[in-house]
Amino acid sequence: MANFTLRVNGSARDVSVDADTPLLYVLRNDLELNGPKFGCGLAQCGACTVLVDGKPVRSCVTPMSAVKGAVETIEGLGSEDKLHPLQKAFIAEQACQCGYCGNGMVMSAKALLARNPRPTNDEIRKALNGHLCRCASHNRIVRAVQRAAREIQS
């Protein structure tokens, strides 16, 4: 076991875990954050995506020892009472069926909009191409990202 101080969603959290523990389990089990999901454990599907210093990271394959920056999860964006424009847009577009992949979509979209505030549809598709959605809400997700981009701009 090793001690880590994680910066998550703006606060410092102390955890004591093995250094090779994937960040995902610390977020879900120690910090009780539901946002990041276990999907494949192989960095193939994107459901576990969180941001580290603003960059999308697959938390299922990121050992605690490798986490150096500030972690942001979907909980850090906003709450049901105070939604982030991306959350608001995904809800407005009803951009899911089961929603299990939605966390990763939102987090990667956040990173995309930070570097490209008005992406084209093709740029959104490219940015999210490493995320799998099995219910096939892809087109709604693209519309949601466009809607959020418009709101953030205005």
């Binding site: 999901k37 192989l42 193939q44 959350q87 929603g99 299990y100 191409n129 892809h138 087109n139």
Partner: protein
């Protein structure tokens, strides 16, 4: 957490109504009641009106991302005359809700929605009759549960009795007066899913909970020979190791400890494997036919017809395909005083309860199954199996709850697949190009091996135990809905039709319900063959379908789809083309036509579906956006099945282990989809979740044929296969 039903009612503040879910009645043949009311006949099984101004609806159907909870709330709010925000929903809990079997077959709005509708309309009548007596007038007007501006449902709730059998004759509100039904009400489950709320079974955390993992055999025929458990028992955090026959699992304090312990167990386990699997590739289909399972005749109709001028035959195949839920199956289980509590994303809490009770030799009453959402399942995935895994492991965890999630590999290797199928079609045209005869012969393994048998169990671990618990022989879902033969009977006007089925009961690879059951492959074959006949008749595919179709609702969706797609008769593309297909799901559900536009890259063999257009008639529409979401998602999922998906295996092992082995459609491959809804406000609900998959597959096949002049009959249309056909 082990609240009994009585405690639940006490703590939830219900004033009046005690439950009676399974009351039986002395009449030998009770009148048939609408929807699921028929099997759950008491009004109070369906709703409770609380003094706090809320209404709770109890549904045996579960939310799996299809939006059923919101649709049921819309129905209840309209029939009761209350605001939508007053409606709370309880889904699938063997201690609380009616038994509605499986949430399957696109029947939730049809079955549960119809029951909720009649139960709420009748509850309203009972409330109004109590109000009439109090107020001394029959002139009653309800606004959001308040009657004539004075009395409310909430005060009357204590004075009326809903513990009575439904009549099934309550007067329903006419469509013109609906405030909620027919509107795209945003789904109530979505906000928490995008804010990190507790939304899934994976998010359940109980005091003292430990984490489980299971070590599955390396192949379907493998048996555990030896394993050194002692080493693993000494690993950090390990709470329990269970070895029972070939069932091997471990629980630990922390999830990553369980994962490490699982790896150590897997490394130490020695298995005896055997080559039990069929050949793969084209040999699989020869093998299935070669087993010589006798044919059952599903339809044999003959009538006078013009003599055939042209005959045609074609064979179509579909491989084993996976549900591929994004979140591997998960369950939480806890034992207390010989009783089992399970939180599960099963599609049927009562059938699962029965199977668990059978495995553990318990009375069903000693098992409580509570639904919690999982990732989208699209049918019978590992949900039920993981519930048994968790329960077996929890039995060794000293009363502590166990959360067990499968790995991606567990799910791909062990979920029951949609069965491989072979369809041989034949047909004849008369001199005018009209179809005079039709035959459809199919080979398939079963499409429904779900829990819910009266004896034994269909869960996976049950067969791995030292004393295996078997299952009753599988029966196919009977026609008209059908299972393997679902949608195999053409609904076109054809004088001579013969449909035969070879149901291969034994399957070394597990098979069960994948969205549409046999419908996807049968519609793919049937609607591909319609195009082949149309070509032989030198007819336009849309005109050819209309020529053979009388049903006005079918004609309407065909015409609306063609119109929206800008269908041009006779258009043939230069590696670009449109294809068309139609089906009525289960031959009795929703009507759906799909037109798909593809481009084919002859060099790479890559097929790209650019655009799809679909018109659908689901009867009365409860939530239009919900309908669009299902049809749109169905088309894209079907495009993925059709272009990419096949489970791979050798004679011993399943080779599909991860998404790298089982690619699905990605963002840059997804077509634009437009959906046209033909609402029928005065027609019954028909369901929507499985309407578009079959026609989407055939529309893609037909579009490739139109674009290239070559026909693909073997799913999936991978680049290698497309190149081979075009060569």
């Amino acid at each position: 957490m082990m609240a009994s039903r009585r405690e639940f009612l006490k703590t939830s503040g219900a004033l009046v109504i005690l439950f009676s879910l399974n009351d039986s009645f002395s009449q030998s043949t009770p009148a048939r009641l609408p929807g699921s009311l028929n099997g759950n006949r008491m009004l109070n099984a369906w709703l409770r009106i609380d003094p706090d101004g809320s209404v709770t609806i109890f549904s045996g159907k579960i939310e799996l991302g299809q939006g059923i909870g919101t649709a049921l709330a819309q129905i209840a709010a309209d029939e009761l005359d209350v605001e939508l925000k007053r409606i709370k929903l309880v889904h699938g809990d063997t201690a609380l809700t009616p038994n509605e079997g499986q949430t399957a077959g696109s029947q939730s709005v049809q079955d549960s929605g119809t029951a909720v509708r009649f139960a709420c309309a009748e509850a309203r009548e009972i409330l109004l009759s109590a109000a009439a007596a109090k107020l001394g007038t029959q002139e009653l007007k309800v606004v959001d549960g308040t009657i004539n501006g004075s009395l409310t449902y909430w005060t009357l709730a204590g004075e009326i009795d809903l513990k009575k059998e439904a009549s099934g004759t309550a007067k329903l509100k006419p469509a013109a007066e609906h405030k909620w039904i027919g509107k795209s009400i945003p789904r109530h489950d979505i906000p928490r899913k995008f804010t990190g709320g507790e939304a899934y079974v994976q998010d359940i955390r109980l005091p003292g909970m430990v984490f489980g993992r299971v070590v599955r055999p390396p192949s379907p025929g493998a048996k555990l020979d030896s394993v050194d458990e002692s080493l693993v028992k000494r690993m950090p955090g390990v709470v329990a190791v269970v070895r029972d026959g070939s069932f091997l699992a471990v629980a630990a304090e922390r999830e990553e400890q369980a994962i490490k312990a699982r790896a150590a167990l897997a490394k130490s386990a020695v298995w005896k494997e055997s080559a039990t699997l069929p050949p793969s590739g084209p040999a699989l289909y020869e093998h299935m036919i070669g087993l010589g399972v006798p044919a059952q005749t599903m339809l044999d109709k003959s009538a006078a017809a013009a003599s055939p001028a042209k005959t045609l035959q074609a064979s179509y195949t579909r491989p084993f395909q996976a549900h591929g839920s994004i979140g591997p199956s998960c369950a939480v289980a806890q034992w207390e005083g010989g009783k089992l509590r399970v939180w599960t994303h099963t599609q049927g809490v009562y059938p699962l309860r029965g199977d668990l009770a059978n495995v553990f030799g318990l009375e069903p009453a000693a098992v409580r199954c509570t639904h919690a959402e999982g990732a989208g399942c699209y049918g019978h995935n590992g949900a039920d199996d993981v519930a048994l895994d968790a329960a077996l492991l929890a039995r060794a965890a000293g009363g502590r709850p166990v959360k067990l999630q499968w790995t991606r590999e567990d799910e791909f290797m062990w979920e029951p697949y949609g069965s491989a199928m072979v369809m041989k079609l034949g047909g004849a045209l008369d001199a005018q190009g009209n179809i005079v005869s039709w035959s459809h012969e199919l080979w398939s393994h079963p499409h429904s091996t779900r829990p819910g048998q009266s004896k034994g169990s269909h869960t996976l671990a049950a067969r791995h135990l030292a004393k295996p618990v078997g299952a009753e022989p599988v029966r196919d879902v009977p026609l008209p809905a059908g299972g393997a033969d679902r949608n195999s009977i053409p609904l076109y006007e054809i004088p001579n039709v013969k449909v035969t089925k070879h149901l291969i009961l034994e399957s070394p690879l597990r098979t069960s319900a994948l969205r549409t059951l046999g419908g996807y492959a049968n519609v793919f074959a049937l609607e591909s063959f319609m195009d082949e006949l149309a070509l032989a008749a030198r007819a336009d595919p849309v005109e050819f379908r209309l020529r053979h179709m009388k049903d006005p609702r079918a004609r309407a969706v065909i015409e609306a789809t063609a119109a929206r797609a800008g269908w041009k008769p006779g258009a043939r593309g230069n590696n670009e083309g449109w294809g068309f297909a139609y089906s009525r799901y289960k031959n009795l559900g929703c009507y759906c036509a799909v037109a798909a536009e593809v481009t084919v890259d002859r060099k790479t063999g890559q097929v790209r579906v650019q655009r799809a257009v679909s018109a659908v008639d689901v009867g009365q529409v409860v939530n239009p956006d919900g309908v669009v979401n299902q049809i749109e998602g169905g088309i894209i999922q079907s495009a993925s099945w059709t272009l990419k998906e096949a489970v791979s295996f050798d004679r011993t092992r399943v080779k599909t282990r991860s998404w790298a082995d089982y690619p699905i459609l990605r963002f840059d491959e997804v077509p634009q989809v437009e959906v046209v809804i033909l609402n029928q406000p005065n027609q019954p609900f028909l369901g929507v979740g499985e309407g578009s998959q079959g026609p989407a597959a055939a529309a893609i096949a037909n579009a490739i044929a139109s674009a290239t002049g070559k026909r693909l009959r073997d799913l999936p249309f991978t680049p290698a296969r497309v190149k081979a056909v075009l060569a």
